[in-house]
């Protein structure tokens, strides 16, 4: 992918040069490339996040701690510009779609370079909500939306037009136990969420969850 006049390599070098001597900037970048097992010409929008991650780790040793946060932010912005992962919508009609949905959640988290716990939280919430659709509404859809930025987040929305949840209060109290599972799908998702909203009625249910990565 071509990006304006300057390629990604030059853009990263420009940023680094503002924090390091030209020699050190080049050194840090080439080591980051080597560590990612990439040649210079393989550095593009897709591989940039990986390389930037390596640079950020190496930069901690070389860059003035006071300026480090600023550098990391600049690099992160650079790496995510133009390639912020797209939102993924998954139709949920059956059990196989639960797998598909949680894999999509995982992929988005990894593109946002989330840590293992965050990936797990997102994938688990997606899995729980998708299963509820399959078990109680038969079909619906899920949407996983990445919200990049300083505090990267993921929004998960599950929509179905099933019969609604009649015993929501009991479910949210955590006392409910389902026949097939632990009955923790919804309350568990709520506990994992940084923001949680549920609308349910006779014509369907919409659950919306936000998780800060």
């Amino acid at each position: 992918m071509v990006k304006g006049i300057k390629d990604v390599h030059e853009q990263i070098l420009d940023v680094l040069s503002r924090y390091l001597s030209p020699l050190n900037a080049k050194g840090v970048l080439s080591r980051a490339l080597a560590r990612a097992d990439l040649r210079r010409d393989q550095l593009d929008d897709v591989t940039a996040p990986q390389v930037v991650g390596n640079i950020q780790r190496a930069a901690r040793l070389f860059v003035d701690p006071a300026a480090l946060a600023q550098l990391e932010e600049e690099l992160t912005r650079l790496a995510s510009s133009g390639q912020a992962p797209a939102a993924v919508k998954v139709q949920v009609n059956g059990e196989r779609d639960i797998v598909k949905a949680r894999a999509a959640g995982r992929q988005i988290c990894e593109q946002l370079r989330a840590n293992a716990f965050s990936v797990q939280k997102v994938a688990t919430v997606v899995s729980e909500l998708a299963r509820n659709i399959v078990s109680y509404a038969e079909q619906g859809h899920m949407e996983v939306t990445p919200i990049p930025g300083g505090r990267a987040r993921v929004r998960i929305v599950a929509v179905d037009d099933g019969p609604g949840i009649p015993n929501l209060a009991r479910i949210l109290s955590g006392k409910y136990r389902s026949k097939t599972g632990l009955g923790l799908g919804i309350v568990g998702s709520k506990r994992l969420a940084d923001k949680f909203d549920i609308q349910t009625g006779r014509h369907g249910t919409t659950v919306s969850v936000e998780i800060v990565l």
Partner: protein
Amino acid sequence: MEEQYERIPIIKLWDQLLVPLQGDVTDERADRLSEEVLERLRTSDARGLVIDITGLWMVDSHLCATLSNLASSAQLMGTRTVICGMSPAIAMTLQTMGVEMRGVRMALDLEEALDWLGFRVVRPDDELDLDATVDDLETGEVAN
């Protein structure tokens, strides 16, 4: 869309059964596995069952319930059962959700699971090695 029906191996390890789970386990696969494992317990003379979940990338509450039910059922059949290899991220997630694995024996890893089932590592030359080490130490002390 290609349907994947990978078989989950049920490995006989002397008088134990070892079930290593990997990748992404669908609800259906987990249910089928439970049946297969319990059937194998009935037909084999296994005295213990280890379910190793090291290779699972995620475990949600439903899979937890399935595994927990499998472990309890195996225990009802008189088989000591232990689940091992839960990653820190999965453990933290399940804990946050309020999932409990009551009544199920958990172990850090396969070694600890086998240890609990009574396995000990005994190498034929352990005693010799021990002597050699002691000798070395003594020689070292003398030399110093």
